[in-house]
Symmetry: C2
Subunit: 377 residues, 2 copies
C-alpha cells in the first residue's frame, strides 16, 4: 500500500515524538516508531512500555496498515529531505520505500503486530467512576513541574519518591517532590476540583511533558493506574507509580520561628562561588547568621581552599550557625530566582529549614524544605 | 607580597589562556597556570611542555614573584566575581588570598620554580639566521587552517602527518594536511617571502590558534624547532613536529581529464542523506556519472537500507562509477561550501580524485584530494 505526506509536516510530527523513544533499552523494538495508517490518518507512536507518546497527521492513502520503523533513521531521513511530497510504499518484502522528486530510499520495516502493547487510557478494566479530568493552563503546569521535578529521588529503593506527586484536593493542586534531603511543594490554589486523590507521575513522563508544554491548555485524564496528558495534537499516556507517597506534611515543621530575608540574586551569586570551594569531602556551605548579616563560608580540605563572604540580611532570631549541602542550596535558590527576596525559616542547626519566596504569584504557594548537614566544629 | 587587578580584566585574560591547559595530563602541575608578577606586569602562562600560551596584564604591585595556581579553580572564581578590584596576597604559608569588597578566598599555590620548563621562542641554541618572520592577516590564516586541519592524520605512526605543513616558498604559502586517504592543500599566493622552508605545526597548536585568531594581523616567528604566533596581547609558542613531511606533490595526479561540475549545496544535501545509509560496513557512497547526471547511491547491508538520488551535473569524460568513504566526501565538501560550484577531476575508479571549487578567492588555490574506495560489484 501507499501513502503520501509532506516532508516538513512529517518532520514536525516526528520531532515531537522522538523524545518518547527510550535512550537505552534492552528491548530493541522500542527503538522504533509504530506507524498506524488508517482511514487517511497516520498515527505515530513511541513507547517504552511504561509510557507512550502519540500524535497524528492526515495523509493521502488507500487501505489500512501498521508497520514498525527504525525511529532515528526515519527521523533523520525525513529531517534531511527538502520540502516535498514524500511517497511512501509499504512493500510486501519488508521494505518501506520513500520516493521524492529526485531520490528513492529503502528502509526495512517490521509488521505492526510485533510491536509490544502500548499503554492506553483508560487502561482495560478501569472503572468509569475512577476516571477524573482536569484542564490546566500549560504555563501553570510547566511552572509547577519545573519547580518540583529537581527534588525527585534518584534512588530505586525509594520507588514512591521517583516521581512528582499530584496531590489533588478541593483547595487546589499540590505538586510535591522529595528525595528525603530536600522537598519542594508547589500549591496552585487556582484549580478547584470536585475530587480528592493522589497520583505519582514518573520522572521520565514529567521530563517529556515539560518539553511539550506551552501556553495552551492541557487536559489531564487520571485513573488509579494511568494518566493521560492531552494537547491539541498530541497525547502522552503513562503508567503511574503504584505506591503510597509518604505523608509529606508530617516532615514540614510548623514552629520555625527564626526568620531570615535575603536578596535572591545576591545569595545565588555567593552560592555559585561557594560551590567552587566545596567540590570534595562534605561539599558543605555554612551560614552564620546575625541580625543584619549572614556570613557564608566553605572550606575544601582536600584542595586546601576556603571562602568567606558576607551579605546583608534581615534576621529575627537567635544567632545561628547552620550547614547545608552546597549543591542542594543552589538547586533550591535556582528554582525561586523569579522572586526578588527569599525567606529562610529556622528552628535549630539540626532541624529542617523552610525556604520560600517572600512574595509568591497570586494563587500560588511555594515551599522548599532542606535538611541541614552537621557542622563538625 | 600583594597585587591588585580588576576582576573582569583578569577574567578576559584567563579566558584566553584556559584552552592552553591540557585537558588530560599525567603531569598534574600542568593543570595550573604560572603567574609571573614582575615590575607591575602579571604574565600568565599555560603549558603542556610542547606548547605554551602566554598573555600579560598591568597590575598594581610591589615586588616580583612567580607562583603556580590551579587553573580551573582560579578561572572559575574570577569568572564568578562581581566587577570589582581584587586584592591578591601571596602568603608565605602557601596560600593565595583573594579579597573583594565582600568576600575573601584562600587557595593553595606552589612556588614558581616547581613549574616545568616552558617552551620559549627562540629556543636556546637557535641560530639567528634560522629565524624567519611572516606577518599574516588573521582572517587569511584562519581560513587556511580551517580548510586543512580536518585532514590531519590521527595515527601516531604517521607522526609527520599529525600537523599542518606550512610550506613556504617565493610564490606564497601552501598549507597542507593529509592522512593518506585525503589531502587538503590551501595555497595563498598573496604572501611573498624571501625564504624557502617547511614547518609542521602540531594539531593542538592549530586548534588553539584557531580559537584566538580574528581579523587582526598575526606575526609568525619560525625557527627549525619552534614557532611563535604573536597577536597584540597574546603569544602561542609551540615545538614543531621534527619530521620530514612526505612529498605531497607526487601524490597529486596531473592527468585527471574527466571533469564533473556540480552545485555545492545540492551535493552536500545529498551526501548528508547518504551518510544515513552508510553507517555500517564499508560506509561507502557510489557516484555513477554520465554527461548530465550523477546518480549517487548508498547501501547499508547491515540495516537493510538503501538510497539513490540523481542530481544534475555537467560532465566531460567517459561514463564512470566510483566509490568514496561517505564521511570523507562530506568533510571535503563541507570545507568548500563557500563556492557555488565544485569540480571533481577523475581519471579512473581506482585513482585519486581532485576536488576543487570552480572559482576560488583571489590569490587562493584550493585543492582537495580523495582516494576512492573499491566498488565490489
Amino acid at each position: 500500500m501507499e501513502f503520501k505526506v509532506n516532508s516538513k509536516e512529517l518532520e514536525k510530527l516526528l520531532t515531537k515524538l522522538i523524545p518518547g523513544i527510550p535512550p537505552r533499552t534492552p528491548v530493541n523494538i522500542l527503538e522504533n516508531f509504530l506507524f498506524d495508517i488508517s482511514d487517511g490518518v497516520l498515527t505515530v507512536y513511541a513507547s517504552d512500555l511504561e509510557m507512550a507518546l502519540k500524535s497524528s497527521i492526515n495523509v493521502i492513502c488507500e487501505g489500512n496498515k501498521q508497520i514498525v520503523v527504525p525511529a532515528k533513521l526515519i527521523y533523520e531521513i525525513v529531517r534531511n529531505l527538502p520540502d516535498d511530497t514524500v511517497n511512501f510504499t509499504i512493500n510486501d518484502n519488508g521494505k518501506l520505500t520513500l520516493k521524492t522528486e529526485k531520490g528513492k530510499y529503502n528502509i526495512s520495516y517490521i509488521n505492526g503486530e510485533d510491536f509490544p502493547e502500548i499503554p492506553t487510557f483508560p487502561a482495560p478494566d478501569t472503572s468509569e467512576e475512577d476516571i477524573h479530568e482536569i484542564v490546566m493552563n500549560g504555563t501553570d503546569l510547566k511552572e509547577a513541574l519545573e519547580k518540583t521535578v529537581f527534588a525527585i529521588s534518584k534512588e530505586e529503593i525509594r520507588a514512591a519518591m521517583m516521581g512528582v506527586l499530584f496531590d489533588i484536593a478541593k483547595d487546589g493542586i499540590r505538586f510535591v517532590a522529595t528525595d528525603g534531603h530536600r522537598l519542594s511543594k508547589y500549591h496552585n490554589k487556582g484549580y478547584e476540583t470536585d475530587f480528592v486523590e493522589q497520583y505519582i507521575i514518573p520522572e521520565r513522563a514529567i521530563s517529556i511533558i515539560l518539553k511539550i508544554l506551552d501556553e495552551r491548555d492541557v487536559k489531564i485524564f487520571l485513573s488509579k493506574t494511568h494518566v493521560e496528558f492531552k494537547l491539541d495534537e498530541m497525547e502522552l499516556i503513562t503508567r503511574l507509580i503504584g505506591k503510597k507517597y509518604p505523608d509529606y506534611n508530617t516532615v514540614i515543621p510548623i514552629e520555625n520561628e527564626f526568620e531570615m530575608k535575603v536578596n535572591t540574586k545576591e545569595l545565588l551569586q555567593v552560592i555559585k562561588r561557594m560551590i567552587l570551594f566545596s567540590t570534595t569531602g562534605t561539599r558543605r556551605v555554612k551560614f552564620s547568621i546575625e541580625s543584619e548579616n549572614v556570613e557564608i563560608s566553605a572550606e575544601d580540605l582536600e584542595l586546601g581552599s576556603s571562602a568567606v563572604e558576607n551579605i546583608h540580611c534581615s534576621y529575627k532570631g537567635e544567632p545561628l550557625s547552620i550547614g547545608f549541602n552546597t549543591g542542594y542550596v543552589n538547586d533550591i535558590i535556582n528554582h525561586i530566582t523569579d522572586q526578588e527576596e527569599i525567606t529562610f525559616k529556622f528552628s535549630s542547626p539540626s532541624k529542617a529549614v523552610i525556604i520560600q519566596p517572600v512574595k509568591a504569584k497570586e494563587n500560588v504557594d511555594i515551599l522548599m524544605l532542606l535538611m541541614p548537614v552537621r557542622l563538625n566544629n
